[in-house]
Amino acid sequence: MNKTFYLILGVIVLATTAAAEWRGWGMTSVTEVKDVPRTVRNNPGSYRPHYMFLGSSFRRGK
């Protein structure tokens, strides 16, 4: 690989890493939802989460 190309690639990797840390980028599976009504705070049961529980995957020991 060309040394200059590698240097450019390396700078891009460093810049991306710095930006990722600064902005808090991550790979956690989180669903960003829009327009959540502020009334949820007063009535938590009215909120419908996007994560639906399908039961535990653990079986051993039960």
Binding site: Y6, V11, V40, Y47
Partner: protein, 647 residues
């Protein structure tokens, strides 16, 4: 250059001496051999015409060696299995003399060594044998049994009635050369060095065009005695054998009738040269003509591995070779000096011109097919012991027979360069890795390594800066109790502030679960409504003892980092799911803002290392494939061992 004159006692012709110290001369008119006795000349015999040769030198040729002008005053001609060579007696301006050897356009100047000490007896030297002589260490290169063929001009001794003479040619480091001459009762040592035609600055040279008919160098028209096909000889008197291009019979080029030395060659081994014979091309700065072609091979476990050799000819520079195996080409020249062979850690290596060559392979090579003309008696079935040493892009090769060791230096040459030099259509692409093929990835990993360490250092600085400047702020912590089955009502936490810039948020869940699980439906929501972050986490922790062996699965704690959460005031909405009948447990929720992580830096480091590792792997893999075909593979298999045994 005029000197003392005398009269031939046989024919009365005038004899002019160029050198006052001459003991013997020949009459140019009647070819009588005349020996001086003070002022008289005695006729002691007669010689025939001196054989014509390719030598451009003649009596009276002037030149310069190490700044000293000389003139050629005499010559002894010898005949051996590869033709003739001339020993020119040259006289310097200071009345000293030396010998200029001209053997197939290879030139050397030597002088006799007085009191050389004990020299080996005739018939005792072996090719490759090391000898310590005045002037240094030498290696026996060629043992020649030559026939005296003629004399002319002035010589420093009587020499006219010899028959067979033994010579041992020795090569030292660099261009050093020596000969032990066994033509007299006591051996005589001559030492000197190889010289080039150009360096001698010769004048008054023989005009080859002055010779007549087919005896001059160049194309000579003849017919095959076996099939009648036209035969061309391009290297003139240097050709010893020529092959009929039609019936492939090997013919004696020295015989005016082209005697058949070997009838039609084996059809199975016939090959077509990629460079048609007669084709000229420019290599370096000289024009070379392809005049000979050989198919040679080694047999390993019944399988023949063959390569092709092209003999190239240039009237002033002599011969050189091109070899080709599986599309890999080498430009080969025969060395004048002798490489130094040593044994390091049980492994052979050779040193030449300051470069160390590692032993690659030794084998018995056999000539399978020949075409064109050769300055030696080329025959199918010719065998040599071949040893190759490599220092890419160079390869040193020694070929040993019972009376000769020849060293040659090959330079790996891309096929495109060969095709361009000889104006050929594109040649086949090389297959596999050749012994002295330059490693295209060699040094690439090393070149990237410096950049890698620079980038890694910057990455370390970034990581340290990140860990030092991150807020890593605890913004919310609260403990809760789960009352038991049926307690699944969602609730919200108090509002907390996420400050600073858009960054991550870490939620830490610590529970007292024991052989139980809980699923958290979680949402991080803005106090004033709008966008939010929805996610779920399962916490489960089981343990026990089975068959006396303790085990556990999962953990009572969980941690999650939410990416890129803008600053603002937030709260958590929490809803728990559990099995029906699950008991109570307690848990704590803790929220942190702008938490530094190490893994992005480790991932970046790994990413930066990939090209370096890839280059290094490519280089190592190339070398592995190179040595896999050698006598020294990196991984020895049973078949490799068998190969070694074969060799």
């Amino acid at each position: 250059m005029t000197g003392r004159t005398a009269v031939c006692p046989n024919c009365g012709a005038e004899i002019t001496f160029r050198w006052s110290g001459a003991v013997q001369t020949t009459c140019p008119a009647c070819h009588s051999v005349l020996v001086r006795h003070d002022v008289d000349l005695e006729r002691v015999g007669a010689v025939g015409d001196v054989p014509l040769s390719m030598s451009r030198i003649q009596l009276g040729t002037e030149g310069s060696y190490k700044g000293k002008p000389f003139v050629a005053v005499g010559r002894i001609v010898y005949e051996y299995e590869r033709g003739h060579w001339s020993e020119w007696h040259i006289r310097f301006g200071d009345a000293t003399s030396a010998w200029l050897s001209d053997a197939q356009t290879e030139y050397a100047i030597t002088t006799q060594v007085e009191n050389p000490g004990t020299l080996p007896a005739a018939g005792t030297c072996k090719p490759g044998q090391q000898l310590t002589l005045p002037g240094g260490s030498y290696s026996v290169a060629v043992i020649t049994h030559a026939l005296y063929s003629g004399v002319e001009g002035e010589l420093p001794f009587e020499y006219w009635d010899k028959l067979q003479v033994e010579f041992v040619d020795l090569k030292g480091s660099g261009d050093r050369f020596a000969t032990i001459d066994y033509s007299d009762d006591a051996p005589v040592l001559y030492t000197g060095e190889y010289v080039t035609f150009e360096s001698l600055r010769l004048k008054n040279l023989r005009d080859p065009a002055a010779d007549e008919g087919p005896q001059i160098a160049g194309v000579k028209g003849l017919n095959c005695p076996q099939c009648g096909a036209a035969i061309e000889i391009r290297s003139g008197h240097l050709a010893q054998t020529v092959v009929c291009p039609s019936c492939t019979a090997i013919l004696d080029a020295r015989d005016p009738n082209l005697a058949v030395l070997e009838k039609a060659q084996d059809r199975l081994n016939r090959a077509t040269p990629a460079i048609p014979l007669g084709t000229s091309g420019v290599l370096g700065n000289e024009r070379w003509q392809a005049i000979g072609f050989q198919l040679r091979g080694v047999v390993v476990e019944g399988v023949t591995y063959s390569w092709r050799e092209y003999l190239l000819w240039n009237a002033e520079h002599g011969f050189r070779y091109l070899t080709e195996y599986d599309g890999h080409w080498n430009d080969v020249v025969v060395l004048k000096g002798a490489p130094k062979e040593t044994l390091i850690d049980g492994r052979r290596q050779a040193e030449y011109d300051g470069t160390v060559f590692k032993h690659f392979q030794s084998a018995n090579a056999e000539t399978l097919f020949v075409l064109g003309e050769f300055p030696w008696e080329a025959r199918t079935g010719d065998k040599v012991e071949d040893a190759d040493f490599v220092a890419p892009p160079y390869m040193l090769s020694s070929e040993r027979t019972s009376d000769e060791v020849t060293w040659s230096l090959g330079t790996y040459t891309p096929p495109e360069k060969i095709a361009q030099a000889f104006k050929l259509p594109p040649l086949p692409t090389p297959r596999g890795v050749f012994a002295n093929q330059p490693n295209p990835r060699s040094g690439a990993a090393g070149a990237l390594k410096g950049t890698f360490f620079l980038l890694a250092a910057v990455l370390l600085v970034l990581a340290v800066a990140r860990f030092m400047t991150a807020r890593n702020e605890s913004v919310f912590t609260q403990s809760y109790e789960y009352g038991g089955s049926g307690d699944t009502a969602a609730y919200v936490t108090p509002v907390f502030t996420l400050g600073g810039h858009t960054s991550n948020v870490e939620l830490d869940i610590r529970t007292s679960l024991s052989n139980a699980w809980a699923y958290y439906n979680l949402a991080l929501l803005d106090e004033n409504g709008g966008p939010g972050f929805d996610f779920g986490r399962e916490v489960s922790y089981y343990f026990g003892v089975d068959d006396g062996e303790a085990w556990h699965e999962g953990s009572a704690e969980d941690k999650v980092v939410l990416p890129s959460v803008p600053p603002g005031r937030y709260y958590l909405r929490v809803a728990l799911d559990r099995d029906a009948g699950a008991g109570p447990f307690s848990y704590t929720l803790a929220v942190k803002r702008d938490v530094p992580r190490i893994w992005p830096f480790l991932a970046a480091l790994a990413l930066l290392a990939v090209p370096v590792l890839f280059s290094a792997f490519g280089s190592v893999n190339f070398e592995y494939n190179r040595w896999r075909e050698s006598d020294h593979p990196w991984v020895t298999t049973s078949s490799d061992s068998d190969d070694d045994d074969d060799q």
